[in-house]
Assembly symmetry: C2
């Protein structure tokens, strides 16, 4: 019950594997780690499809969602296949896949992968960012989207 | 700029050192890690006073704040000394210090301390929790409290 009170932005974590296949996963476990270097961390279940695409040095993107993106949040947290998650117009997949209309897309290089029981703590260093001009972040807590 | 869009609950992280001195620090970098074991992580600047009190196996508390607790959030993120942070009626300090009226107080034992540049990733396993009956979590993003 207590954990339901931990509120967070909703992000979609995206990557491409060595064969060029795209992966995306909705996550609320993104947090800032250090300013210098500019690093974030995200906790990823080892059973998630995207986990197989994660390597130290590989490029990934953390897309902070806006309140207009509940649909993509639901899609990337459903049991639909990875392929279905990209069968829409939301994505730019030229290089590392990112959401074109996210609140912010933080492009990162993976610096460390730290396994812990069922999950891996992914430490990612930001290399570039794009962001919207005003705050409109989708948030989740208490078992529901807020706002 | 992009990091301003990462929203989070506001928590106060609290501990007592080997000499019985209490420490508390406001943090937005708390996130759930695994369900089994029930573990959370929190990122702590190595220059924070509380950092010297953190040992593997030691007891700590993650207090998720309510919207009525902006005052304690400000107090525990100010430059006031650790002692001043406890000069009020908000705390129970019989054992590990905790906030009596938090949204939730998650009592934990530190499992791992992982240094990363200026910070340490603290992995804490929950041992017991108390929580309020309804959702009223204090949140921070875009350089301000929300709600």
């Amino acid at each position: 019950m207590a954990m339901r009170y931990l509120a967070a932005s909703v992000s979609v974590f995206s990557a491409k594997d060595d064969n060029g296949k795209s992966y995306a996963m909705t996550a609320s476990s993104v947090t800032s780690l250090t300013v210098n270097p500019p690093a974030l961390l995200i906790c990823v279940n080892q059973s998630a499809g995207i986990h197989s695409a994660l390597r130290v040095g590989s490029d990934v993107c953390i897309n902070i969602l806006s309140n207009e993106q509940q649909e993509i949040s639901n899609l990337c947290s459903s049991t639909d296949s990875e392929t279905d998650r990209f069968a829409n117009e939301f994505w730019n997949q030229e290089a590392v896949p990112f959401l074109k209309d996210a609140q912010a897309s933080i492009f990162c290089s993976i610096d460390q992968l730290i396994p812990y029981h069922s999950h891996t703590i992914v430490i990612a260093q930001a290399t570039s960012v794009t962001n919207a001009s005003t705050f409109n972040t989708l948030m989740y807590a208490d078992g529901r989207y807020l706002g």
